[in-house]
Amino acid sequence: MRPETEFIQTIKDNEGIIYKITRVYTNDRASQEDLYQEIVYQLWKSFETFEGRSKRSTWIYRVALNTAIAYLNREKRRGPSVALDLEFDDQFTEEDEDLEAKLSLLYDHIQRLNVIEKGLILLHLEGRSYEEIAAITGFSKSNVGTRLGRIRQKLKTNIKK
């Protein structure tokens, strides 16, 4: 398979992951679209050097999360940009309005966490094992467990407020 075709397929297979990461790390639609594009660009840049040295999902999470950090640091100082008009609107139909409302609440709780916690909770919600979270984030497996325990407590306190 040609690298371009393989890359397009990889993005299509994982577009949901990229969407969720962009939503956690941004506050508005325009920034979300910008970050989405930047992640795809960074994935393309490292696609040829990836060569299956780690699991494909590990590579995607790592590049996407690191790009989100870089984006957060750069965003405030960046000038206006040209949008590619991604179809992010109308992700959920009217019958899903209840789900969308609950999701907004969920994102709101995640947004209140700091940048370290955001990455960890996102991977946990994605159903990644402690081992894989450790491989993506660089924390030890036991440290991941400890940190997630603390996040759980923090979320409980925040939700009660």
């Binding site: 299509k12 949901g16 795809v40 050097t49 790592r62 640091n73 960046r78 000038g79 179809e87 979320l155």
Partner: protein, 200 residues
């Protein structure tokens, strides 16, 4: 909402997203093209443009440096030239260092440590340059007065309007510097907090 409930909700959303198509082949191809990445280089472009302007002014002063014929004008000229040459280059260097960080090379933790450290360095640099900018704004006046009008501002009876202008400018710079310093303090504290947490 408990964590388990959050997890269920997340799974529900993931399933919905799997059924939908967000991007087409064409959009993915467009995203990978260099023309797209260029817009992310805009910041660097404007910083570079600022550096060019600063260097051009510094060259202008250097070319006319012999016109500065007293020790105090030479001191003012040397400070202004050094500031205009060194500060923008230091800023560009720190930006370049951030830009060079490879997103695929490091783990999330390493990336955060590197960014927070870089941010700390940039903030220190900007804090220093903010204070020196106030000095620059004042010292550039006698230098330009001498170069362009061949007048020694220190030896002249300075008009009241000029004193007022300098006073207003210094007052503005004072409030601007105070505001900037507070912003930097808060960002620096947050960066230090993240670094401390990462070390745990």
């Amino acid at each position: 909402m408990e964590l388990e409930e959050m997890k269920m909700l997340w799974q529900q959303m993931s399933q919905k997203l799997e059924q939908q198509r967000l991007v087409t082949d064409q959009i993915i191809i467009e995203m990978t093209q260099q023309k797209y990445s260029n817009r992310f280089n805009k910041l660097y472009f404007f910083e570079s443009l600022g550096t060019v302007v600063c260097v051009a002014i510094a060259i202008l002063i250097l070319v006319n440096f012999r016109k500065l014929d007293t020790w105090y004008l030479v001191t003012c000229g040397a400070f202004v030239t050094a500031f205009l040459l060194v500060m923008p280059l230091l800023t560009l260097r720190s930006l370049q260092r951030i830009k060079r960080l490879s997103v695929s090379q490091f783990s999330y933790k390493e990336m955060l440590v590197r960014f927070e450290k870089s941010k700390h360095r940039v903030l220190l640099l900007q804090r220093g340059s903010l204070i020196l900018s106030a000095l620059l704004a004042v010292l550039i006046l006698p230098v330009f007065q001498k170069i362009f009008k061949n007048e020694d501002l220190f030896q002249q009876d300075i008009e009241l309007s000029l004193w007022i202008s300098v006073g207003v400018m210094l007052l503005f710079l004072f409030f601007f510097a105070r505001w900037g310093y507070r912003c930097y303090q808060s960002v620096t504290r947050s960066a230090e907090g993240i670094l401390k947490e990462l070390e745990e």
